[in-house]
Each structure stands twice: as structure tokens, then as C-alpha cells.
């Protein structure tokens, strides 16, 4: 959730900070530094709020200052209630999210890499038209496709199954575009030709030669797809009807709604907030670990050799 914005922001900050360190001798731009600090603050503040809020109980939440600790420190109680509310359904939602996001991200990066590579390195009839279509598809938000997708899946009796989450998430037009641009530069034509001369088949060239060169790009697409599926709310909302199939987004929203249910209300605000905090932790970890791939992925291809 917040991490999607925060993490790339940190990347940017880091990316800018490094050259300035190297250019230590040169004059630093003070306004730029301030601007970057402000940006960092802007992106980190919600995360900070989320952390502070998850240390409060319900009454502190509404009666104390939002950006500092309340009268009681109830982080632990909140964490316990996250995992015990409704018989620990949260854990189930977390596992669902990991499953949906993990499978979709792996699948999407694989499909996008293959497609992008094909667009970049092969000329075949209709390749331009197909690529234009892919480019056009980037412009259509997933939300707009949710209803038609629902009708299609309903016709195939696939709604209310994990497939309803995974299959639509496997398609990533932006990933294809990114991989085409990336593959065009990262895999030299001469290398492919050399491999052909050595007698390797096209598929083997892709797996054993090109795929390795494409690594950083693959990770980039993987992260994009991971975050997109992890944070997807609308698709599971319309596709799934069973609590035990929900991902974290829908589950937490449902818990949040229950807080304002009037009669029979369960005031689960602090539980929901703490649940949100826990739900972004894996994303932050994923970004930190894959950071170096991601950085090189964005940087290479920028300059032609």
C-alpha cells in the first residue's frame, strides 16, 4: 500500500544521493537537497503515521495527536488481535496474498520477458500491430477491465476461485513494453547470432543466454507485478465471495467496514491499522532485497553502447 510509493521514492533518494557522494568535491545544490528531503518526508510520513497509529488502542487513536505516540503503547496487543480476530483469518488472507502475488509475479514476469524478447529480437508478420496493441493496452486501467473480466470468468465458472485472481494478473502490458525496450539493448544481436552459429536452438538461446542478460529487467517486472497484485483491491472484491479466499486488501477493508457497522459493530480500527502495517512489511523487504537488481535494471539500457 504505502510501500509502493515509499519504496521507489527511497530508491530515487538513494540514486541521487550516490552520485552526489562521488562528486563530493563539487558544489551541492542546497535547494535540491531540501526538495529531496521534503519529497522523502512526504512519502515517508504516511508510513510513519501507520506505525504510530498501530501502537495505539482505539480510544488513543481518536483522542491523541496522530503523528506521535498515545497514552498507552499497545502495539503488541494490536498484533495479537490481528492474528486472533475471527480465528486468525488474517493469516489466511496473508497466505492468499502471498500465493496470488507470488504466482502472478513469477508468471507475469516470465510471460512479459518472453513477449518483450520476441518483440525486440524477432521480426515476424504482424509484430508491429501486436506491439501497438500492447502499447494501447497499457492505457487501459485494470479497473476498467474488471467487469468484462468478471463476466468472462463467470461464463467459465472460474469466479470465486484463486484462478480469478491469478489469471488476469498474469498479463502485464507494461511489463512487455519494458522488456522489449530492455531486451533491445541488453542482449546484443551478435551474441544471439554467435549462439546460432554454435548450433543452439532459439529456445535454448533464450533460456541460457538471453534470460541471464535480462535478469535485472525481469526483476523489475517481477517487482511491478508483485506490487500490483499485492495491492489489487477491485479485482478480488468483485471476483471472490468467500472470506477464506480473500487477499489482505479485501479482508482488511471488510474488517474496517465492520468497525462502522452500527449495531453489532466491532471497533477493530487499531486491529485493521496494525494489519495494514504488517501487510506492507513483506513488500518493503522484497524491495530492499531486490534493490540492486532493480537499480541496475533501471539504469542499463539508458545509454547505448
Amino acid at each position: 500500500m504505502t510501500a509502493t510509493i515509499t519504496a521507489p521514492a527511497r530508491e530515487n533518494a538513494a540514486g541521487h544521493a550516490k552520485p552526489s557522494k562521488r562528486r563530493q568535491g563539487k558544489k551541492r545544490s542546497l535547494p535540491l537537497t531540501i526538495l529531496l528531503w521534503l519529497c522523502a518526508l512526504y512519502f515517508l510520513l504516511p508510513l510513519f503515521w501507520l506505525f504510530i497509529a498501530s501502537t495505539k488502542d482505539n480510544s488513543d487513536l481518536f483522542s491523541t495527536f496522530g503523528l506521535w505516540f498515545g497514552n498507552r503503547f499497545s502495539l503488541w496487543d494490536n498484533v495479537v488481535s490481528v492474528f486472533t480476530a475471527r480465528d486468525g483469518l488474517y493469516l489466511r488472507w496473508a497466505l492468499n496474498t502471498v500465493l496470488y502475488a507470488g504466482v502472478s509475479a513469477i508468471g507475469a514476469s516470465l510471460v512479459a520477458t518472453m513477449a518483450g524478447y520476441a518483440f525486440a529480437k524477432y521480426t515476424f508478420p504482424g509484430s508491429r500491430v501486436l506491439f501497438s496493441l500492447t502499447l494501447g493496452a497499457i492505457m487501459i486501467p485494470l479497473t476498467a477491465l474488471a467487469l468484462p473480466t468478471y463476466l468472462l470468468f463467470n461464463a467459465a465458472s472460474l469466479t470465486n476461485t484463486p484462478w480469478a485472481m491469478i489469471l488476469p494478473s498474469l498479463v502485464s502490458p507494461f511489463g512487455v513494453f519494458l522488456m522489449r525496450v530492455y531486451a533491445a539493448d541488453a542482449v546484443p544481436d551478435s551474441m544471439i547470432e554467435a549462439a546460432r552459429v554454435d548450433g543452439a536452438g532459439e529456445f535454448r538461446i533464450f533460456w541460457q543466454v538471453s534470460f541471464r542478460l535480462l535478469g535485472p529487467g525481469v526483476v523489475t517486472v517481477f517487482l511491478f507485478a508483485l506490487v500490483a497484485t499485492w495491492n489489487n483491491y477491485f479485482l478480488p472484491l468483485i471476483m471472490l465471495n468467500t472470506s477464506s479466499l480473500y487477499p489482505l486488501t479485501v479482508g482488511l477493508a471488510q474488517q474496517q467496514a465492520a468497525s462502522a457497522a452500527g449495531g453489532g459493530a466491532q471497533a477493530l480500527f487499531s486491529t485493521v491499522i496494525t494489519g495494514s502495517l504488517i501487510s506492507v512489511v513483506p513488500l518493503i523487504i522484497a524491495f530492499l532485497f531486490l534493490q540492486r537488481y532493480w537499480e541496475t535494471g533501471l539504469a542499463t539500457g539508458g545509454v547505448k553502447e
Binding site: 457497522a261 449495531g263 453489532g264 466491532q266
Partner: protein
């Protein structure tokens, strides 16, 4: 059971239109009616045959009451699902009904939405299963909410008769030592409270048609009507309705009543921080407040609503739900028995009131001393349940809804709600709302009376 996010309203509005268009012309409204009443033998047989039922509800922890049912009838296996609350829930039901796949058997449904589903023939007429026999076990006005002369469409689960919850500490500070009996006194008290403490005496939400409709209900206004077939009546701009809204407009313009959207962060902070010295709200609110603003425990007092006519004692209703059976169910008898059991069996209704904190519609709880004599520390030891049980008996008995509540409510937010927030003329807003509703009803093929 009352909230429905505003954003979803438009979507559902259009879904409802589609539903009306699709089914409105092909079948006669009024729900499925079985000609003969089911015999006890048939019921016994249905309840001993292994059956799977699905129950969509957003009541947290209602699994406990369902477990009681399953214990009594081991052959029936009930799956409880929460697919959303309020509008998203109805949206899912409509989607499931239209896709003819995955629709549940029993659904929770707020009273104001029942006609929106009987109009599309989506609810099972429970009178064929002996529902009329239990009519006397519920408060009169509540039974009127679930039944029409064409049939019985649901069993009442919980209700929200309206009362006045206020911070006695703040009111005392302003020299108001007892709850205002009339709206005139209420306005005077509002002035005193504002002058002495800066708090507003209540909040009139910009996004909550149900609250305003509840206030109209109390004043004896009949803004909506539906004959169960093709005729609706719409009177949201009647002189009586304008009188009620005019009263609030006056308070709003003098800054004596705040106009925040309810059930969001700002609203909770207002309750916790004493921005609002009180709240004209419903019977579900005492429990809600205890969960949300626990730190203010002991400072609250519950009282009946202020009255328009000092010689009378009347109230309206805000919220509450019933459990209905969808006409698509393959196991109508078992589904009907589930809906009935949960809301009729003494053990189940008591549990709904004590553990799920729903304010009961069933007399077997309302009349039980363990329920009414319970003292609430949050309200300084008041017997709040008793108070609201008495209020429930004063709710105006006949109040009808339109078969397109989604649309009426979303338009309320856009027209009247916005005017409340911007302190504009509410009389004009009611006129606009009226015009929009009449036009919509005609476009949908209804006769407007």
C-alpha cells in the same frame, strides 16, 4: 447495521436500474408466492435431509447463532459468508442473481432495501411457510417493515429506534441539567451549550440519508410509499418534511449543529474530543460508542428524542436489518427455517443481543429482564436497553420505502447532503430531490402518485 459507503452508491444505483429493466418487464413484481402453506411434515422432512445452505451476512460472529441452528438440525450445513457490508453486499447479491450462479440462500438485508429486491421478484414470500404465525413475536412497526399485504419478505433481526445520546458533563457545564423534552428546548439548549463550551449539540451528517430519514420518520412524515407493484408515492418536499429540515437548517446556520460526514476519522475524533456534546442517533449507538470512544465512559446519558409536540412521545428508526430468503434458493424450507430460527429462537435472539450487540426486534428479548435490567457503566449505570426498548414501542408504525432506495439515497447525498454541508437552502434541496426522484421513477416505468 447501517453504513453504506457513499462511493459505491452510484455503481449500485446503475446496477439497480439494470436489474429493474431486466426483470421489471418480464415478470410481475411482488415476489414468489407459493399457493399453499407448507405442512409440518414437509418442514420436518426438509430439516432432516442433508442440506447445504449459504448465508450472506455482515454481522460479526453470527456463526455462534448459526451453530445453535446446526446443533438443533445436524443435517443442515450452513456456510456463513461476509461479502461486504451495505451496498457492496447488495451489489454482490444482484450480481449473483443475474449471473444465476453462486447466489446464497439466506441474506441479511436492511429494511429500506427490501422493496428494492421484491420489485425484481428476488425474495421468497415467507408467508407460505407460516411466517405470519410469528408476527406477534415482533414489535408492530418492525413487522410492518418486513411484511406487505402481498407477503412476508424477511424475519427482523435488529432495529435502531432513535434516541438522544449526550455528554451530560458538557451539558451540565452549560447549565442544561435534563434532556430537552421538545425541539424548542433542544434549540435553546444548543445555544447554551455552544456559548458555554463551544461544542455542538449534535451532528447532522452530510452523507447519511438514514439519519435524516429517521428524523422525518419521527416527525410523522411519509416521504416514500410503494404498493408492491407499479405505483410509488414520493413526498420528500412536503410541508412537514420542509418544517423538519428548516428547523435543522436554522441550527446549522447558527453553528449550533455541526455537519460532518459520519463514520470517518474526523467524526470519531469529534465524538472522542467532545466536539459534539450529543448525537441524535439509534439504539445501536450505545455499543458503538463504547467501542470507539471508550475513554469517555461514564460521561454519557441516554434519553428519548426531543418532541415536536410536547404532548406526544414518538420516535423514528435508523438502521437495523432483517434476514431474507432469495427466491432462487433450492432449499426454500430449510433456508426459511434458518432465517426464522436465528431471529426467533429465544437462545439465538438473546445471544444476538448480548454477544453480537444487536438491538433486538424480537419481543422475547425486549421483554426479558436480563436484557432490560442490564446497567451500562458507559452511561453512568443507566439501563439503556430498557430505555430503547420503551422507545421502540413509540416508533411510528407505518413507514414505507421506495423500490429504488439505492438511487434515492445516492441522490440525497448529492443534493440534500451537499446542501447541509454547504449551509444552503434545504427547502430548495428537498424540491430538487423530489423532482429527481419523480423523474427517475417515471423513467423506470412506475406510476407516481
Amino acid at each position: 447495521m447501517k453504513k453504506a459507503p457513499r462511493t459505491a452508491m452510484k455503481l449500485v444505483g446503475s446496477a439497480a436500474v439494470a436489474a429493474l429493466l431486466l426483470t421489471g418487464c418480464s415478470s410481475s413484481p411482488g415476489g414468489t408466492t407459493a399457493k399453499e402453506t407448507t405442512s409440518q411434515d414437509q418442514i420436518d422432512k426438509a430439516l432432516t435431509t442433508p442440506t447445504k445452505l449459504t448465508f450472506w451476512t455482515w454481522v460479526p460472529g453470527i456463526e455462534k447463532e448459526v451453530a445453535l441452528f446446526e446443533k438443533k438440525y445436524p443435517a443442515i450445513d450452513v456456510t456463513v459468508e461476509n461479502v461486504g457490508q451495505g451496498l457492496p453486499h447488495y451489489q454482490k447479491i444482484r450480481t449473483a442473481l443475474q449471473s444465476k450462479d453462486g447466489a446464497p440462500d439466506v441474506v441479511q438485508m436492511e429494511y429500506q432495501y427490501l422493496p428494492s429486491f421484491t420489485v425484481t421478484n428476488s425474495l421468497l414470500d415467507l408467508s407460505a411457510y407460516g411466517a405470519k404465525g410469528v408476527a406477534g413475536d415482533y414489535v408492530d412497526w418492525v413487522w410492518n417493515q418486513v411484511s406487505t399485504d402481498k407477503g412476508v419478505w424477511a424475519y427482523p433481526q435488529d432495529v435502531g429506534p432513535m434516541g438522544n445520546l449526550y455528554r451530560s458533563d458538557i451539558l451540565t457545564k452549560a447549565g442544561v441539567t435534563s434532556a430537552p423534552k421538545t425541539y424548542e428546548e433542544y434549540a435553546t439548549a444548543a445555544k447554551k451549550v455552544k456559548d458555554a463550551t463551544g461544542s455542538t449539540i449534535s451532528n447532522l451528517a452530510t452523507n447519511d440519508p438514514a439519519q435524516v430519514v429517521g428524523l422525518l420518520w419521527q416527525a410523522g412524515v411519509k416521504p416514500f410509499g410503494y404498493d408492491g407493484d407499479k405505483t410509488v408515492s414520493i413526498n420528500v418536499n412536503s410541508p412537514e418534511a420542509k418544517k423538519v429540515l428548516g428547523y435543522w437548517q436554522d441550527l446549522i446556520q447558527k453553528d449550533l449543529v455541526s455537519t460532518d460526514a459520519d463514520f470517518n476519522d474526523q467524526f470519531y475524533q469529534g465524538l472522542a474530543g467532545g466536539k459534539y456534546a450529543g448525537w441524535l442517533t439509534a439504539a445501536w449507538a450505545p455499543i458503538f460508542l463504547q467501542g470507539t470512544v471508550a475513554d469517555t465512559a461514564g460521561k454519557w446519558t441516554a434519553a428519548p428524542m426531543p418532541q415536536w409536540d410536547a404532548t406526544k412521545n414518538v420516535s423514528g428508526n435508523w438502521g437495523g436489518s432483517a434476514d431474507a430468503v432469495l427466491s432462487t434458493t433450492k432449499n426454500p424450507i430449510a433456508a426459511e427455517e434458518l432465517a426464522k430460527f436465528i431471529n426467533h429462537d429465544q437462545e439465538s435472539t438473546t445471544m444476538l443481543a448480548t454477544q453480537q450487540s444487536l438491538f433486538p426486534a424480537a419481543k422475547n428479548v425486549l421483554g426479558s429482564p436480563t436484557f432490560t435490567d442490564a446497567k451500562s457503566d458507559f452511561f453512568g449505570g443507566q439501563t439503556v436497553n430498557k430505555l430503547f426498548a420503551d422507545i421502540s414501542n413509540t416508533v411510528d408504525k407505518k413507514f414505507e420505502w421506495l423500490p429504488f432506495t439505492d438511487y434515492a439515497y445516492s441522490q440525497f447525498n448529492e443534493i440534500v447532503g451537499t446542501s447541509i454541508g454547504e449551509k444552503k437552502d434545504l427547502s430548495t434541496a428537498l424540491d430538487t430531490w423530489q423532482d429527481v426522484l419523480v423523474k427517475y421513477a417515471k423513467d423506470q416505468g412506475f406510476t407516481v402518485k
